[in-house]
């Protein structure tokens, strides 16, 4: 029997910046063009990493590319992000990163000094995360064709025992856990670009979240239903994807969401919602109600998890949506990010 031709829903005439911003447009591109052609008509929810079987062993596999400008910023650099990003995508799919291969796309004219600093940053980050850099490839493009350098990393990981995560397993009453304060990375980058005459004592949160994921999984085991690292598009976009994929409602409690004052301040000034700002060292987990308290405690006692918080819960209604209960008992909906976050004027 012939398989039906996949239906291509993506009809937009050209690629816009928004298609790479991690929000709604990105999802339309992936689900409307990539998935139907590459994965066929029927595919499950798209997670942070794929699980593939080799000789009866299931491994997790993921890839990510890094095009950040500026290359260095307070708290990190593109090289460090490139390792941690892939380690984290594997971690939140329930896997420990084992090996990574790297592609460098370098722009002619890039000072060797800068390249060397990034290669060293990658070696350090890999050592810290306990992952092997197993190989790589280099391409050089003409001057003006890349912002200094782009890095792409592909990693494989060993699945942790006893954890099976999927949006389908999420149930009403489950709790939403967050590993620490949100928005640090996105706001740091925005300020590091130097276009805003603003300064803040703030640095990127880039780090491997694997030790925290491991602490969570050891404590809650099968009680861990779903995990995601809220990078581009922020917490709001990750949770909206969960709400859509699971058909459940996600309710957040505003006063429980950890946000540093400097991030809040910058967001207030620029008219941005911290829930839409990118993170590079945090993760969200949905944990069953019975395991939630002990899981939170496990995060609190793990190094770097001191600020973890229970920020919300899963409900039947409003289904497929994310809402926030404000400090005053009012509610508002939180949508996915649309386009790039653009500062407002007044």
């Amino acid at each position: 029997m012939a398989t039906p031709a996949p239906k291509i829903k993506f009809r937009e005439p050209q690629i816009e910046m928004a298609h790479g911003a991690g929000g709604k447009a990105s999802r339309r591109l992936v689900e409307g063009l990539f998935a139907p052609i590459l994965f066929g008509a029927s595919h499950g929810p798209l997670g942070d990493a794929a699980h593939v079987q080799i000789n009866g062993t299931r491994i997790a596999m993921t890839t990510d590319s890094f095009v950040v400008s500026p290359l260095r910023f307070p708290g990190g650099s593109i090289g460090e992000l490139a390792i941690n990003g892939t380690v984290n995508d594997l971690a939140v799919s329930g896997a420990r990163a084992e090996a990574i291969v790297v592609t460098y796309v370098l722009e002619a004219g890039l000072p060797t000094e800068i390249l060397e600093a990034e290669v060293r940053a990658m070696a350090r980050a890999a050592e810290k995360a306990g992952v092997l850099i197993a190989g790589g490839d280099t391409k050089v493009v003409e001057h003006g064709k890349a912002d200094g350098m782009y890095i792409s990393t592909t990693g494989i990981g060993r699945l942790l025992f006893g954890v099976e995560i999927s949006p389908d397993s999420v149930r009403p009453g489950d709790k939403v856990l967050l590993s620490g304060p949100i928005g640090d990375h996105g706001i740091t980058i925005l300020l590091a670009r130097g276009e805003l005459d603003m300064q803040a004592d703030l640095s990127s949160d880039t780090r491997s979240v694997f030790p925290l994921v491991q602490a969570l999984v050891s404590s809650a085991g099968p009680g861990v239903r779903w995990m995601r690292d809220p990078t581009r598009g922020g917490v709001a976009t990750s949770l909206n994807e969960l709400a859509r994929d699971s058909g459940r409602g996600v309710v957040l409690f505003e006063e429980k969401i950890p946000i540093r004052d400097s991030v809040r301040g910058a967001c207030e000034l620029l008219g941005l919602d911290p829930l839409h700002i990118a993170n590079e060292g945090q993760f969200l987990a949905i944990v069953s109600a019975e395991h939630a308290n002990s899981a939170l405690q496990a995060l609190h006692t793990a190094p770097g998890g001191e600020a973890a918080a229970m920020i919300g819960e899963i409900r039947e209604q409003p289904s497929s949506m994310v809402s926030v209960t404000t400090l005053y008992g009012g509610t508002r909906l939180v949508d996915m990010l649309v386009g790039d976050p653009l500062p407002r004027i007044c």
Partner: protein, 375 residues
């Protein structure tokens, strides 16, 4: 966070909500317009409508600079962006606003040099750093942003910087309020007055609203407690049958306004005889034009601009929503053809546009649907 958290204290907010319920009583319906888009945004973002009794209705006003700009002006501005020797600079708010052939962001994706700036001074910096290019700053905003445009033009002139000009779309708030009060289908009881505009123009320009139109005005801040307190102040006046201008936002708004800012505006701008507003049509003396002494820095004078007039898509009811005649969800396109992702009208783009605020924070809420069913 100082100056923010004290205006978000849950106990005080609950108290203000209680006060509003007490003052409003059950026997009368109140229609209060918040003029400024910043207020609209805050009302939705903080869920303030949930704290209000159903007989206190908030109507969203025209105070969203991006929303009131007709599409023809955007097309005119972008017509200059096509020239490779030009840099088109605008605030982030403008970037997704659709013109006939796309938004500034789409122009940028097609390779035109479109930049987001955070202040007109940043656009001037662009001109200094790119002497081989001409920088056009697409200026929008009410009296809030007009002074900084004026100061930037004064700076450009004193520096003799000739590769910089301003495409001026600055508008003034008072004629818009007058147009709304003149509109026969509006029955308003009072106004939450714009906070940021008033830091510049002060509170005096609103006197006629109280004296001639008999409607109370309370100039308000933007934190949840500010807005609720302003509604309390309006309801108190209405209960006593008074109509006065009050200043709730004293910590920022001086009664007389900001004289230095007004002087800078007077130096650089004069009133246009008339200007087209989306939804409100042509309003006389409602916008600012760059004075002859600054012609060299006026994009419209310096370069050929088509001067097109584009009518909004027929089915879109931006005008009715801007005037407060329709609620966002009552527009035929709302949430279907027109969404923040693929906006038909500017009200769906700006975070201060009532459609975007309503779409993002409110419209799919089950409680709203329940209210709509009983309304």
């Amino acid at each position: 966070m100082k100056y923010v958290d004290e205006f978000r204290t849950p106990e005080l907010i609950a108290k203000a909500g209680e006060e509003i319920r007490k003052l409003a009583g059950p026997n009368r319906h109140y229609r209060i317009m918040e003029v400024c888009g910043g207020h609209t945004h805050a009302i939705y973002r903080f869920g303030l409508k949930d704290l209000m009794p159903s007989n206190v209705e908030l109507i969203h006003g025209p105070g969203c600079p991006v929303c009131v700009l007709p599409m023809g002006r955007i097309d005119d501005g972008l017509s200059l962006a096509a020239d490779p020797s030009f840099i088109f600079a605008a605030f982030g708010d403008m970037m997704r606003v659709p013109g006939t052939h796309g938004s500034p962001l789409e122009y940028k994706a097609r390779g035109m040099d479109v930049r987001i700036v955070y202040s007109p001074a940043d656009a001037l910096k662009l001109a200094r750093n790119n002497p081989e290019k001409h920088v056009i700053f697409f200026a929008i905003g009410f009296e809030t942003t007009a002074p900084s445009t004026a100061l930037t033009l004064m700076r450009a002139k004193s520096e003799g910087l000739h590769n910089f000009s301003v495409f001026c779309n600055h508008v003034t708030i008072i004629p818009a309020i007058r147009a709304i009060l003149d509109s026969p289908d509006m029955r308003l009881d009072g106004f939450v007055g714009p906070g940021h505009v008033s830091t510049v123009i002060g509170c005096r320009p609103y006197h006629w609203i109280a004296q001639d139109a008999g409607k109370p005005v309370v100039v308000s801040g933007f934190e949840p407690l500010d807005i609720l307190q302003s509604i309390v102040m309006l309801l108190r006046q209405l209960r006593l049958g008074e109509a006065r201008v009050e200043n709730q936002y004293k910590r920022v708004v001086p009664w007389e306004g900001n004289r230095a800012a007004l002087r800078a505006m007077a130096e650089v701008f004069e009133l246009r005889p008339y200007f087209e507003w989306r939804g409100l049509g042509f309003i006389s003396q409602s916008a600012l034009k760059i004075r002859a002494s600054y012609t060299e820095w006026d994009s419209e004078q310096r370069f050929p601009v088509p001067g097109v007039r584009v009518t909004d898509p027929k089915a879109a009811q931006c005008g009715e929503v801007l005037k407060g005649v329709l609620k966002p969800a009552q527009c035929k396109l709302f949430g279907r053809e027109c969404t923040p992702e693929q906006p038909v009208g500017a009200l769906m783009v700006s975070s201060e546009g009532s459609c975007a605020a309503y779409y993002n924070y409110e419209h799919r809420k089950p409680v709203t649907i329940a209210n709509a069913a009983t309304a």
